[in-house]
Symmetry: C2
Subunit: 231 residues, 2 copies
C-alpha cells in the first residue's frame, strides 16, 4: 500500500457520509441552518436514539458542530468544506447511470431555486450568474469568476457590503450546480446575494426543504433589478 493514511481517511470520511440516515442529516443541514436533534431525527427517518449516535459520530469527525440552547441541541454544518464535498458527490451522483428519478413538485421546486449552504443554487442561481455576467458585473472566464469595477458599484447599490469579512473567504467563486450542470455563484458574493434577497423578502426558505419560494416582491425585484423573468 502506497499511502495508508490518506487511503484510510478518504474511506472514513466517505463512509461517514455513506450511511442513508447520516446523508439525510447532512442534506437537511446543507442550507446552512442549524436544526435540533429531534428535527434531524425526523429528516433521517430513524429513531431519536439512533440519530443521537449518528450525530455523535458526525460531531466527532467535525462534520457538524453542536450548540446547546437549553434542552435543545442545535447542530449545523461545521465548515463550507463539508458542503463543498457534498456538492461534489451530488455532481457525481447526477452523472451516474440513469435511474428512477421521480420529478414531483417538490423536486421541481428544488431545481428552480434552492439554497446551497449559504448561497443560491438551481435555475435561479445559474440564470443570475448569466445575467450578471452579460451586464459585465462579473467576469466568468472558463470556470473562474471575478467582480468588475462596475460590479462592485452595482452590488453596493443593491445593498451588499462585500468588504466586510475580508480575506476570510474568496469573494466570488463558482460552484457547479448539480441540477443545471452549470456554474452558479458562491463565495462571499454568492452568500451576500442570497442573504440580501432573504432580507428584502424576495424569497423564503422552505419549511423542511432546501427549496426556496418567491414572494410577489421577489418576482418583481428579480425582473426589475436583474432582468430575470421567473418561470
Amino acid at each position: 500500500m502506497t499511502n495508508i493514511v490518506s487511503g484510510n481517511s478518504l474511506a472514513e470520511v466517505a463512509a461517514l457520509i455513506g450511511d442513508p440516515a447520516r446523508a439525510n442529516i447532512l442534506q437537511a443541514l446543507a442550507d446552512g441552518r442549524a436544526l435540533t436533534a429531534g428535527e434531524l431525527a425526523w429528516h433521517a427517518g430513524v429513531s431519536a436514539q439512533t440519530t443521537s449516535g449518528h450525530l455523535a459520530k458526525l460531531t466527532e469527525a467535525r462534520f457538524i458542530a453542536l450548540e446547546k440552547q437549553g434542552r435543545h441541541h442545535y447542530f449545523r454544518l461545521a465548515s463550507p468544506e463539508i458542503a463543498t464535498a457534498m456538492e461534489a458527490l451530488m455532481i457525481v451522483a447526477a452523472n451516474g447511470p440513469r435511474r428512477y428519478r421521480p420529478t414531483g413538485p417538490k423536486d421541481q421546486a428544488m431545481r428552480t431555486a434552492r439554497t446551497c449552504y449559504d448561497h443560491l443554487a438551481g435555475w435561479l442561481a445559474v440564470t443570475l450568474a448569466d445575467r450578471l455576467s452579460a451586464r459585465q458585473f462579473i467576469v466568468l472566464s472558463d470556470g473562474a469568476a471575478a467582480v468588475t469595477e462596475e460590479g462592485h458599484r452595482f452590488f453596493r447599490d443593491f445593498g451588499l457590503n462585500l468588504d466586510e469579512p475580508k480575506n476570510t473567504r474568496p469573494l466570488c467563486r463558482t460552484c457547479l450546480d448539480w441540477s443545471e450542470r452549470r456554474s452558479h455563484l458562491a463565495g462571499r458574493l454568492g452568500a451576500g446575494l442570497c442573504q440580501r434577497c432573504l432580507d428584502l423578502g424576495w424569497i423564503k426558505r422552505g419549511r423542511d426543504s432546501r427549496a426556496v419560494t418567491f414572494t410577489p416582491q421577489g418576482v418583481e425585484g428579480f425582473r426589475d433589478t436583474f432582468g430575470i423573468t421567473l418561470p
Copy 2:
C-alpha cells in the same frame, strides 16, 4: 423525508467510496492512469475475487471505466468529476481532528509533488501557481483563475497548445490542495503543464504512488523557466 432521491444517491455515492478497499482502488487510479484488475487488487489489499466484486460495483456506478486488452482488464477513472469529489473529501479529511499521521519519506514526496488526476498538486503545483501569478501570466482573483495575454504567449513558447480541445473543459481553474491548503492549477492549463513537464522529462511518475520525482533536467528547467528552486 423531503427529498428521497438526492438523499439516497448522495449516500450511495459516498458509500461506494466509503469502503477501504474501494477507496484504495480509487486512490490508486487518482493519477489518471489505467491499471489492471490484478494491480488494483494489490493496491486494495484484498484478494482478486473480492477486488473483482468491487470493480464491478464501481464500474456499474460509472466511477471507473473498463477497457479490455487481451486477458488484461484495464480500469481508469471515468470522469474528472470523480477525481474532484475525491479531492473534496480529502480536504474534509485534512480538516478533521488531528490524528496519527506518519510522515515518512513516501508521504513527504507526496507533499512535495504528486499528480492529481491529470494535473500537478502539492508544493510544486502551489509554488508554480504563485510564480505564474507573480509574473502576470495568470490572474488569481479570490479563488478564480484566468490566463492573461502575456500568459498565452508564455505558455505557447513553453510548448503548450491551449486551444486544442476547446470548450470541452475549463481552460484554467483552481483546485484546493489538501496538503498545502492553497490553490493549484487544474483545467486544461493544469493538465497541459503536467503533460509538458512529463514530455520534457522534467518529472517522472512514481511506480506505485502518485508522487512524482524530479530529473536533473527538471531541477534546471523549473529554475530557469519558472524560477522555482526545488527543496
